[in-house]
């Protein structure tokens, strides 16, 4: 079986830059307040943007778990 290199999420800085950027995109601090409310697909536009980035964050973290975390898996699976 081909051995994967050891991958620990905390050691890959780009993962965390991504998380922080997504947090900043989810929290709607950057929308202008008090203006006309536009409704898109049943959601106020700002909420739809926030929801979109919330879903991106779910997918991103789910993907990081599977693809960028590999420490002892090969050892454990070989030992079975």
């Amino acid at each position: 079986m081909e051995k994967n290199e050891v991958k620990e999420p905390i050691q890959q800085k780009w993962i965390w830059v991504g998380v922080v950027l997504m947090m900043l995109a989810i929290v709607p601090w950057y929308f202008s307040k008090g203006g006309e409310i536009t409704i898109v697909l049943g959601f106020p536009a700002w909420a739809l943007v926030s929801l979109f980035f919330s879903l991106i964050l779910c997918g991103y973290l789910s993907w990081v778990c599977v693809k960028h975390w590999n420490i002892v898996e090969d050892l454990e699976e070989d030992g079975k």
Binding site: V27, K33, I39, G42, V72
Partner: protein, 500 residues
Amino acid sequence: MDLAFSGMDGVIILVSYAIVMLLIGYLSGRGKNLQNSLSDYFLAGKNLGIIALFFTLYATQYSGNTIVGYAPAAYRMGFGWLQSISFMTIIIAAYLLFAPRLYVVSKRKNFITPTDWVHHRFKSSAVTILSVILMLWGLGNYLLEQLVAIGQAVSGLTGGTIPYQFAVIAFVLVMLAYEWMGGMKAVAFTDVMQGVVLMIGIIIFLAGSLYLVGGNFGNVTSFIADNEPAKVGVPPMDASINWMSMLILVGFGAAIYPHAVQRIYSAQSEKTLKKSLSRMAWMPPLTTGLVFVIGIIGIMMFPGLSSGDSEQLVGMMANEIAAINSFYYWIMILFFGGIVAAIVSTADSVLLSFSSMISNDIYGRFVNPRATEHKKVLIGKVGGIIAVAALLWLAWNPPATLYEIFVLKFELLVQVAPAIILGLYWKRLSAKPVFWGMLLGALLAGIMTLTGYKTVFGIHGGVLGLGLNVFIAVVGSLFITTSAKEESEVEEMTSLKLEA
């Protein structure tokens, strides 16, 4: 919560749930000598497979309160409550900061509780005792909240046929019984049943409520925009700051819950753990996200409720949904039974974790380190029962003053996070500054809550306490010189090897 549709049918469903839980507990413990090993009893022999691990993680993070409490929050706050999706998701990011390494170290060192790691890393009784106190305090309050919620949900579901106090005692006895028989294994397997019912229930509840408002969510939003525009408008800046603060507080607080950390220890393998967490990352939109939509629909179904009345929102909506036809009627009864089951499933995890800390961290470490594992397990079980009895007494005789101390959860728990997370990666982190950071951070968070300043400029006291805590721990450690020997010891402790 008064549910017009309930009564005897509700009682039948609740009794069935209770019987299934007891059966699972019996089967989990049958023929196995769980009582002779801390690891077997409290961590299911560190052998949880992907389905049980996923559902037990799910039941740990999502309780019946997620529905009963979060829908009214959406009702009151409007679209700003979308934050519930992101703050539940960010917990996975917090896990990713420490779970991969802690899993390896815990397998190598055979840890039982989060305190085992803290003690192993800092070798300081002061740090160990303070973390035990903070975690037990947070867990105790969390358990108290769940016990109160069980009573309210059961007496609501049965329309008062089962009175509040009887409901709590009956379900607590069921929970204690299956936990006594099967330990963590019973907790995890009952979580599977409880999780499935909750998920299906939420989806059908949403379908029923959408049906009642004409099937178009866009109409609901337009209705709110016309009648309560503040609930669809862009949140003001302090609400955005509060949102960001929630991400930090819940993210770190919920990942560091002792029962959450113990689920890392219980995983059968790294593969099961990462797959379970990977699936958990998708649960917020499917759970808190759908509950958010339910709360928003509630604004149109029951406009103008006061803050206190809005707490009854889920019950009021369930009454309407149950009246649609007999399919919805039975689903609503199953669902409310599911809510009770979900509260029980969160309470059982918390109780087991509480027992393990009494057994391992207090009795096993400080009172009688030479005790056999059998005796330690027994002390933990009995200690858990005493704790539940004390909490029930407290729930029924609430103190007139200082009630807020019994609300502190995340604010205190999160103060253990720097010791657990930073301790894994930074060799220079020393016991003394960690102790003072934890203590002063917890005091700041506690005092702010007690004096009514839960947030300052939207930032939670717990987050400010965490900031102070990290600052003291880091700056203090920079002033302490560590020898090369000490650093190499820490390197050994935190290494990524499976074998010692």
